[in-house]
Amino acid sequence: MSAPSVPMIRQTAGRGAARAAARRRGTGGVNRRPGWVTYAVLTVVLLISAYPIYYAVLLASSDAATIAQNPVPSLIPGENLLANLRRVVESDIKFWPALVNSIIVSTVTALSVVVFATLAGYSFAKLRFRGRGPLLVFVVATMAVPTQLGIVPLFIVMSKLGWVGQLQAVIVPGMVTAFGVFWMTQYLQEALPYELIEAARVDGCSMIRTFWHVALPAARPAAAMLALFTFVGSWTNFFWPFVVLGAANPTLPVAIQLLQASYFKDYSLILAGVVASTLPLVLVFVVAGRHLVTGIMQGAVKG
């Protein structure tokens, strides 16, 4: 659009002019700044999304007797948070090994999904080969197949391989996702000009060097988002790790679940475990959430 933007007018002609311009351009309010009601609604929504997490902190910082007496906690955390966290760590749920397991599983899965999805995405987006169209359609179609339902045979396979209770049983099936392939295909189709690939080829690059030096750098923003998505997804995953890993070698969600099974009346302990397992991801979210948000937004527009 060639008309000057409202912020631009604000810079050159001052606030009043900007407001007037905003009113004029909005033709009845499409671009108008919303009123306080909108912000009030959003604030309420925000409180509803944040409160359960805060509630966990409140109970985790309390002691069991207080919780039993009064189900409505005060808004200010008590002083037992550290003590309760220590109890979680010292309980028999293998907290530290579970944390390490979760970090390993999520990191390895995220890295491998990014590498393989970028390779496949590059191939689908920019290379021509026989069967490309049908294969891509197949990839998209697999997104609709609920893989969770193959849980029994997958378990049989894993026990034949002797992987039950071992991390690779969780990592290997998650190493590649149809969503990832589709996502990178969509992104690279637009973000990577053919001229760049051709230039590299003319300069004598092999296919894999072209991928490494041309496609991979171009894919970086989308790859970062995909990594974040996959990381969150595998960190929060429960059913399959629960089935195949069990209590012997748990990831965090599986370990936290054990807290409830063994200490079911001690809510300050259980919710301290919840806080301990949620905190790392909330921190990741605070640092990188912006990318997660734009990621969902972009993926939705294109998907």
Binding site: S49, R132, F155, T236, Q257
Partner: protein
């Protein structure tokens, strides 16, 4: 779809094709040609390999297991035909699980889609600090379902729960969240809604922002109010996205396991299996007392068929809903 658009040009091998059986093709050139031909397949191979092993094979193999006597530890037994399906269908627990799954699924996905679209409409305004609000809405998405369930099962505790205490504050009798069928479904659905509404909101919001603003301007000139604009432009233009949200939440919702499993410490779905879902039932058959992989697989296949069926019904329904309101919105 953009994905099926033909590639403009393939990155040609550097030397022009020297013709069939050209004697001059050096080893290097031949290697380069193989490189060009084979590389694309090599690059897409990892996906298909992993999917074949971890996705396709299990689903097909589930069918094989489901017609056999099969024990968790004992392994494959004899062929029993459809006996596992008959056994499962005759057990009253299967029907309970089916009812629960549907009830929880409807209680979670219907309000969720509605809330997501409404909330997206609110977020679609020209807000200050956009990213902040969007991040706030997405926050619950990073809390693991297990954690959400533990938090909510305490909030919905029968005696010492926050929700009942608040209800008592306004003079409502305490609700028996862990024994009443419907109440337990509402509590579990609220966990699902808590975690997924924000995610779906952002998907809907993204689609809303792609709606051409001229449509709204034209509607304003025609004298349409905000509500009218929402139902006559926004909703119809969002049709593909709504279908996407409905289908993904169907697949997820019908397989629900984490939340109901964690709703009490037994993990069996309540004393009367008030909130035991099909996936929980599948787990109980395979890894519980019966250890019958055959019956568990039968449940998996039944669930798969249900998901496909519901998917088709959803698709038809969403199409009708979205297009009947769309007289003014179609360009």
């Amino acid at each position: 779809m953009a994905t099926t658009a033909p590639a403009r040009r393939l990155p040609a091998p550097p030397p022009a094709d020297p013709g069939p059986r050209a004697p001059r093709a050096t080893l290097r050139q031949r290697l380069a040609r193989w490189d060009v031909r084979l590389s694309p397949y090599l690059y897409v191979a990892p996906f298909f390999l992993v999917f074949a092993v971890a996705g396709l094979f299990p689903i097909v193999y589930t069918a094989y297991v489901s017609v056999h006597d099969w024990h968790l530890i004992g392994g494959q037994g004899e062929f029993v035909g459809l006996q596992n399906f008959v056994d499962v269908l005759q057990q009253p627990r299967f029907r309970t699980a089916l009812r629960n799954t549907f009830s929880i699924f409807l209680l979670s996905s219907v309000p969720q889609v509605a809330m997501a679209i409404a909330l997206a409409a609110v977020l679609d305004a020209n807000l200050r600090a956009k990213t902040f609000w969007r991040m706030g809405v997405l926050l619950p998405y990073v809390v693991a379902p297990v954690a959400v369930s533990l938090i909510f099962s305490k909030m919905f505790a029968d005696q010492s729960g926050l929700i009942n205490a608040l209800l008592a504050g306004v003079g409502v009798e305490p609700i028996r969240w862990h024994s009443d069928v419907l109440a337990s479904h509402v509590a579990i659905a609220s966990m699902v809604n808590f975690r997924w509404t924000g995610y779906n909101t952002l998907i809907a919001l993204a689609a809303m922002q792609a709606v051409p603003r001229e449509l709204y301007e034209a509607a304003v000139i025609d004298g349409a109010g905000r509500l009218r604009q929402f139902f006559s432009i926004t909703v119809p233009m969002l049709r593909p996205t709504i279908i996407f949200i409905v289908i993904t939440s169907t697949i997820g919702g019908l397989q629900i396991f984490d939340e109901p499993r964690m709703f009490d410490q037994m993990g069996l779905g309540g004393a009367d299996r008030q909130w035991m879902t099909l996936t929980m039932y599948l787990y109980e058959l395979g890894w519980g007392a019966q250890k019958s992989f055959g019956r568990a697989s039968a449940v998996a296949w039944l669930l798969f068929l249900i998901i496909v069926l519901i998917g088709l019904v959803n698709f038809a329904l969403t199409r009708r809903i979205a297009s009947s309101g769309g007289k003014g919105g179609q360009r």
